[in-house]
């Protein structure tokens, strides 16, 4: 365990928002995020399939050092299909600060969608489960009927 990990904050952040979108950009000057194509359904003609997307989250009431982790799981089986965590510790000075981030699953590393059903992104801060956002994968013919 590194020194940073030993001093990770026990303060529980409050999740204000978590969204899935087609893509997003971060303005290099202002740090403002722009989300494009917010969605909660993936419609495919056949499975398995995969999709590139971005996950945005925003939280408050955090103070101290944090490591954030996002896990992508199939709800039905509970199997974690992908995951990512911050390489470096993020320091948030005040509980009054708002922290947000945009995480990209790019085109060359899309998330897998093995079959129709519900999937979710789970957000942890210092191993504390903060919340989730679900997406539903649907077969295209189900929609047409």
């Amino acid at each position: 365990m590194t020194n940073d990990e030993q001093t990770l904050s026990k303060v529980v952040p409050f999740l204000l928002a978590i969204l899935v979108c087609d893509s997003g950009t971060v303005d290099q000057n202002s740090g403002k995020k722009t989300l494009v194509g917010i969605f909660d359904q993936v419609i495919a003609r056949k499975f398995p399939t995969s999709r590139s997307l971005s996950v945005y989250f925003k939280l408050s009431d955090a103070q101290g050092k944090y490591k954030f982790r996002v896990q992508y799981a199939q709800v039905k089986t509970g199997k974690i299909l992908a995951g990512a965590e911050t390489r470096d510790v993020v320091t948030i000075e005040s509980r009054l600060d708002i922290f947000d981030s945009l995480i990209s699953f790019p085109m060359d590393l899309p998330i897998p969608v093995p079959e129709a059903g519900q999937y979710e992104f789970r957000l942890d801060a210092n191993n504390m489960f903060l919340g989730r956002i679900a997406i539903n994968a649907l077969q295209a013919k189900d929609i047409e009927e």
Binding site: F47, I80, G83, V90, L109, E115, F129, A134
Partner: protein
């Protein structure tokens, strides 16, 4: 059930977790924003797991309540159901999958909080201790 053909999506035996994540499934090769997301598989040991043994719960689903400190949750399979158990509050949540069990537990804890709050002047010693534990972990949002 559809047949999974992608090489990185292997079907496992029932009840078995994959130990080694497939590198092809790990996103975030390039960092975005100030967070540098890791793609190194040994840093993401959870990929492939189906059920964690424990978890720290950092949120309740009730907008009136806020967790001051995380609650430790343990998980077990019981037949086809998942049981989420919070030992410090002696509360259970049940569901057909992990999320459902967590949501059920979150609702149970919120219900317990408001029930004990309502009955606060009539609590016995055990429930009084439980109420004190709840107050150390949960605060009401005004």
């Amino acid at each position: 059930m559809s047949t999974i053909t992608r090489p990185e999506i292997r079907r496992l035996e029932e009840g078995r977790s994959e130990e080694e994540p497939s590198k092809d499934l790990l996103p975030f090769e390039r960092p975005l924003d100030k967070l540098e997301m890791s793609t190194v598989k040994d840093k993401i040991p959870s990929v492939g797991l189906t059920l964690p043994s424990t978890m720290l719960l950092g949120a309740l689903r009730d907008p009136r309540l806020r967790l001051i400190a995380p609650l430790t949750i343990t998980f077990e399979r019981e037949n086809d159901d998942i049981v989420a158990y919070c030992e410090e509050l002696e509360e259970f949540g049940f569901g057909t999958h992990l999320t459902e069990a967590i949501v059920d537990l979150q609702l149970a804890i919120a219900e317990l909080y408001f029930t004990l709050k309502e009955e606060n002047n009539r609590l016995g010693s055990d429930l009084r201790r439980l109420w004190d534990s709840l107050c150390q972990k949960i605060k009401e949002v005004s």
